[in-house]
C-alpha cells in the first residue's frame, strides 16, 4: 500500500484529524473511512456528478480529488447541508416539487444546485441548466429539478 499522510481539515463544521494513504480519493475517504454514505459513487470518472461536494466554497467531483489534498481545507457534504434533522430549504424544495425519484443522483444534484444559487442568487433557468450539466439523473427528466431550484431563486430574489 502507498505511504500515508496526516490530514487536518474541517468536515461539515467539525475538525478531522486522520491518516490516509496518499493515493486515496476524497470519495473513498468519505464513504469507506468516515462512513458518510450520502455522497454517492457512480461513474468514478468525473462524468456524472453523484460525488459532488463543496471544498473551500467551490464544488468538485470527489471521485477525482486526492484526499491528501484536503489538508487545511473546509469540506461540506450533503450531511452538512441541513441543520441536524432539519432539512435545508433546497432539500425541502426538491421534496415539495416531487423532484426526487430513486434519489441516487440527489446528494450531488442538491449540493451543486445550492452552490449555483449561492454564486448567483438571480440564476435564470438557462443558467441552472448549464450549471447542472455535470449532474446526470437517470430518472427525473430534470424538469422538476429545475422547478425546485427556480422556487428557491424566486424565494430569495
Amino acid at each position: 500500500m502507498s505511504v500515508k499522510t496526516e490530514l487536518n481539515f474541517t468536515l461539515n463544521g467539525r475538525p478531522v484529524n486522520i491518516e490516509v494513504p496518499v493515493d486515496m480519493t476524497v470519495l473513498n475517504l468519505l464513504r469507506d473511512v468516515l462512513d458518510l454514505k450520502g455522497t454517492k459513487y457512480a461513474c468514478g470518472e468525473g462524468e456524472c456528478g453523484a460525488c459532488t461536494i463543496e471544498v473551500d466554497g467551490t464544488t468538485i467531483n470527489s471521485c477525482l480529488m486526492y484526499a491528501a489534498d484536503l489538508n487545511g481545507r473546509t469540506v461540506m457534504t450533503i450531511e452538512g447541508l441541513g441543520a441536524g434533522n432539519k432539512m435545508h430549504p433546497m432539500q425541502q424544495s426538491f421534496v415539495d416539487h416531487g423532484a426526487v425519484q430513486c434519489g441516487f443522483c440527489m446528494p450531488g444534484m442538491i449540493i451543486q444546485a445550492n452552490y449555483l444559487v449561492k454564486q448567483n442568487p438571480d440564476l435564470t433557468r438557462e443558467e441552472m441548466k448549464r450549471g447542472l450539466e455535470g449532474n446526470i439523473c437517470r430518472c427525473t427528466g430534470y424538469t422538476k429539478v429545475l422547478d425546485a431550484v427556480a422556487a428557491i431563486v424566486g424565494a430569495e430574489g
Binding site: 505511504v3 496518499v22 493515493d23 468538485i60 451543486q112 450539466e133
Partner: protein
C-alpha cells in the same frame, strides 16, 4: 497500481522545482486527468507524488507591459470569470466540461496532459502564447520560454523535460482591434471531448483581417496551427469568396483520423463548417 513512497506538497516554486531535479516525481494539480488515467491503468505513479496546489504564486492572471501572464494553477473557472482573459479564452473555458470539473481543472494540467483535444490549448495557439518551464540548475531556478506551437510532439508528448515544471503561460495582451472566436463540436456544449475544435483570431480593422492565426484541435496527433488557412486570410477582406476558400484551405491544414468518436470524413466536414461560421462571426464585428 504502483506504490507511492513519498508525498510532498511544497509551498514555494523553488521547492517544487528543486524536488523535480532528483527525478521519479508525479506532479498532481487538479487531478482531473491524472486520477482517471491511473484508475484505468493507462499510467502509473512515480515513487514521489508532488501536489503543487499549495504553491501560492502559481495561481492567477496578471497584466504587465503589454503581456498577459496566467499561472499554471489558475483553474478553468477562474479563467471563465476573469476580465483579464481574452474573450476567445473565456469562450473555450465556457465550453469546457462541467462546472465541477472547471473548478478543479488547471490550465497547466490541460497543457501538460497534451491531448490533441485540450480545449484551452486551441485559443492559446491563436494568441501565440508561450509557456514558461522552470528547472533547478546549479543552485538556482532557471526558466526557459518556449512557444506553445512548438511544445507538443505527439499525443501526451511534449518537449518539457521531466525535471521541468510548467509555471505559467504568457502572451501579448491583444490590442483593441483583436477579434477571436472558438468553436468546438459536440451535441452538448460541455462534457464532450472535442471531435473537432477551431479557433480563429486576428486584428480586424477597416474590413480587413491582419495578423491572422488559426488553430485546430483533435484533428491530428497534436493541437496545430492552420498555416494554409492563415495565408489565405492574411490582409484580406472577408468576402464570401475568401471565406469559402479559407474553409477549403482549413481542410488541407488538418489531417483528421477515424476513431471511436467520429470518422475522418465527418471531422473534415466540420472543420470547413466551423471555419466558415467563425469567419462570419469575425465579419459581423
Amino acid at each position: 497500481m504502483s506504490e507511492i513512497e513519498k508525498y510532498i506538497a511544497p509551498d514555494t516554486v523553488s521547492d517544487a522545482v528543486k524536488a523535480l531535479s532528483s527525478g521519479g516525481v508525479t506532479i498532481l494539480a487538479g487531478g482531473t486527468d491524472l486520477t482517471p488515467q491511473i484508475d484505468a491503468g493507462r499510467r502509473s505513479h512515480a515513487p514521489t507524488l508532488m501536489n503543487i496546489r499549495r504553491v501560492d504564486d502559481l495561481s492567477g492572471i496578471t497584466q504587465n507591459k503589454g503581456e498577459t501572464r496566467i499561472g499554471c494553477l489558475t483553474t478553468v473557472s477562474e479563467i471563465k470569470q476573469s476580465d483579464l482573459a481574452p474573450a476567445i479564452l473565456r469562450q473555450a473555458a465556457d465550453h469546457f466540461a462541467s462546472e465541477q470539473i472547471r473548478n478543479a481543472a488547471t490550465l497547466g494540467g490541460n497543457i501538460c496532459n497534451a491531448s490533441p483535444a485540450g480545449d484551452m490549448i486551441n485559443p492559446l495557439l491563436v494568441l501565440d502564447a508561450s509557456v514558461e518551464l522552470a528547472s533547478w540548475k546549479e543552485g538556482a531556478m532557471e526558466v526557459r520560454r518556449e512557444p506553445l506551437r512548438r511544445f507538443f510532439t505527439g499525443p501526451g508528448k511534449t518537449i518539457k523535460h521531466d525535471n521541468e515544471l510548467l509555471i505559467a503561460v504568457v502572451f501579448d495582451t491583444p490590442g483593441p482591434d483583436f477579434v477571436g472566436y472558438f468553436r468546438k463540436s459536440g451535441p452538448r456544449p460541455a462534457l464532450e471531448i472535442s471531435t473537432v475544435s477551431v479557433g480563429i483570431g486576428g486584428d480586424y480593422k477597416d474590413g480587413a483581417f491582419h495578423n491572422v492565426r488559426v488553430a485546430f484541435g483533435a484533428v491530428g496527433p497534436t493541437p496545430l496551427r492552420g498555416k494554409a488557412t492563415e495565408a489565405m486570410l492574411e490582409g484580406q477582406a472577408l468576402t464570401a469568396e475568401v471565406i469559402d476558400k479559407s474553409a477549403r484551405a482549413a481542410q488541407d491544414d488538418a489531417t483528421p483520423i477515424d476513431d471511436i468518436r467520429a470518422t475522418s470524413w465527418y471531422r473534415t466536414h466540420l472543420i470547413a463548417v466551423f471555419t466558415e461560421e467563425l469567419l462570419n462571426n469575425v465579419r459581423q464585428n
